[in-house]
Assembly symmetry: C2
Homo-oligomer: 125 residues x 2
DNA sequence: ACTTCATATCGACATCCATCAATTTATCGA
DNA sequence: TCGATAAATTGATGGATGTCGATATGAAGT
């Protein structure tokens, strides 16, 4: 025979919505993610959740000058140009890529510190 | 008038499939993600791309003893038990959570180093 | 103005996904 | 053996998402 311990009948964990915290230095272990925060932080990971978008980031990061235009990205991914533009837009909206238009071309580059900041979200979960 | 420079007509970036690399120490900037790698790495981020799953990780991490059972998780998320079980399964499959059954209860805890490892993927993109 | 090229946007379609209600599985206590 | 409880599984459904073809926008050169 064995003995199993459990606290009361059901749950007992707090879940606090930290409102607008003053944007500084998450001390690691606080209340637990509220619904709003979670939704916002999930957006970045949603952008990272597609294989082709990961490859886009990788290629852009390793490209000469740290930037690449759409025409440089369609072939290695074996995707149509509209699809690549679509993925790039998602990455830009997520704050991971920066878009700069020069002439007819649109050059995409990594937003400095964006990946590190995203990594920080995981550490501060 | 302005002058725009571009290399040849179209793309020129290499994309190499590194086959089974011997599982060691990615030196930061290599070939660029191949299709297979990208697909595999996207799985973890797919698991992280849902707000409720982020909250699950957060709650489990902050729970007493570093573990929590399903019955402790349904209420704070305001989700049905089957849905929570579904999310937990996805997190386990992604290698982020560990499941241990004791008695009637199933206790979930963070896989040590899993979040850090995931953060490492971003740095090594 | 007209053509050409790079990119963005639109509309459609097939697939995936989060969620729930209902059921099943499994374990404990009586 | 028989409930009672916790959790997983199944089936269904509405909504999001990746992809493409076609079209629109916009800038450069002739």
């Amino acid at each position: 025979m064995s003995i199993y311990v459990h606290n009361g009948q059901m749950n007992s964990l707090q879940t606090i919505e930290p409102g607008l915290d003053e944007a500084c230095c998450a001390p690691s272990d606080l209340p637990a993610l509220g619904a709003e925060e979670a939704q916002q932080k999930a957006l970045v990971f949603k952008a990272l959740s597609d294989p082709n978008r990961l490859r886009l980031l990788s290629i852009v990061k390793g490209a000469g000058g740290g930037e690449a235009c759409v025409c440089d990205l369609t072939e290695p991914l074996d995707l149509g140009q509209p699809t690549v533009s679509h993925h790039l837009k998602i990455l830009v909206d997520a704050g991971l890529l920066h878009r700069e238009k020069r002439g007819t071309w649109a050059y995409y580059s990594l937003v400095p510190g964006a990946l590190e900041k995203t990594a920080g979200i995981l550490a501060a979960l």
